[in-house]
């Protein structure tokens, strides 16, 4: 019975055309970005490091959004469709259910990451950034996907409503992505911008990618200042998941 739920969750993502359409859509997004970096009048002027950074940001952001959306209905969809009782009757604990759901989402991310590697290698060809780009995008993507999925599965199990957990999770995600994606450089340099970036693990991940790919500071000790907050955030989210999934209540919210 071990990992049975995990296997069924993963196979559900690839069982049919509809189940696997997301991976083709994701690859088309990466293709479009790569094509624009090659042909767009202004994007093509960027240095290769900046192009890689842009592509890395998109891969990680897309991975987190997909993981959060998928995780937000992990438990609540089972409750809403009335299949959760039968799941609880199986000889696996509530925590195992939560962690196998988490593992299936991380597997989905890993597949997305594998698909993104040819794009990272193609954009970085001719530079010394290929290995670093693949490594750091994988590192930060995996850590952030684990963190956000853990948090969102917790919301899903406590709120028992897919709609509510999707909304709350996406709001949290957008708030955390905002400094990296929407703040202008001038705002980032203000006291407010700096404070937000210091406490935001997503900003740390993006700033680290910037430092590695644009400023060529590729070694792990140079990036420790950014890696540590992301690791701490991931551990805290995993602890939240562990703590709040000891048992599930099946009754949907009134």
């Amino acid at each position: 019975m071990a990992f049975q739920l995990y296997k069924s969750e993963v196979s559900g993502s690839f069982y049919s055309w509809r189940g696997a359409a997301w991976i083709v859509a994701a690859s088309m997004i990466f293709s479009l970005v790569a094509y624009l970096l090659l042909t767009d009048k202004e994007l093509s002027l960027l240095d290769q490091g900046e192009m890689l950074f842009t592509l890395g940001e998109i891969i990680i952001s897309l991975g987190i959004i997909m993981a959060t959306t998928s995780a937000s209905s992990a438990i609540s969809a089972e409750i809403e469709s009335g299949t959760f009782e039968s799941l609880l009757l199986t000889p696996i604990t509530a925590r195992q259910i939560a962690f196998q759901k988490l593992l299936s989402i991380v597997t989905t991310w890993l597949l997305l990451y594998v698909v993104s590697i040819p794009y990272l290698v193609a954009v970085s060809s001719g530079t010394n950034l290929s290995i670093s780009a693949v490594f750091y995008v994988g590192l930060y993507g995996t850590l952030l996907v684990i963190a956000f999925s853990s948090l969102t599965i917790t919301f899903s199990s406590k709120l028992k409503s897919s709609k509510n957990s999707v909304m709350i999770s996406l709001m949290i995600l957008l708030i955390m992505l905002a400094p990296s994606l929407f703040f202008a450089t001038s705002l980032k340099k203000t006291g407010f911008g700096t404070a937000i970036e210091d406490i935001n693990p997503v900003s740390h991940a993006m700033n680290s990618l910037d430092s590695v790919l644009v400023d060529n500071q590729q070694t792990l000790p140079e990036q420790a200042i950014h890696i540590l907050p992301v690791v701490i955030f991931t551990i805290v989210c995993l602890l939240i998941l562990t703590n709040y999934t000891r048992r599930f209540e099946v009754k949907p919210i009134e």
Partner: protein
Amino acid sequence: MIKTGHGFLIWTTIFRLLAIVMIAISALLIVTGSYSIMALGATSQSSTTPSGGNIMLEVTSQPQIHGVAGQIIKVEAKITNTGSSSAGGIAYISIVDLIGKVPIDLEDWSAEKGLYIPTIQPGQSLPLEWNIRLVKAGSYTVDILFNKDSDLSSPPVSSPKIFMDVQPKLNLNPENILPVAFGVPAVLLAALGSINYARGRRTGVYR
């Protein structure tokens, strides 16, 4: 005798007339020639160091620039006060897109658009320098202009034009990008299609 004398008079008159015509033509040629030389001199003057009153702007870098988009080039000039009193003002650059026929917004092109010069002493020359990032491919002209503080009503002093030809730059190699951009989705579609078809054959959906 009379006949001879009459013929001589005729020939003398003809020679005199010819001489007058030749003198007139020569005079005309000399006058027009000197005008041409003067005009040529004036043209060469304006193409090297046009002056406005007592200020002279001279381009010391190449008058024609050939670059690649993304490259940073240096435009250098010299400003000289040829007058007897000191002058001050702002020297600035202006870039015009010859294809689009519009002036360029220098926001992305140059960090420093204008240089304030408080005083240029009589006879003094100062070097001017701008670093320009070639943002977009195309053909452009660059002018260096100087607005005097003391004379707000007169037009700015301008330098000779610098012609700039910017070639497009491809940071990425299309031979690396295009196979991946078109190949990965195609391979994924083919792989998923094959898996789906094999599963359909096994379960009897496709016969």
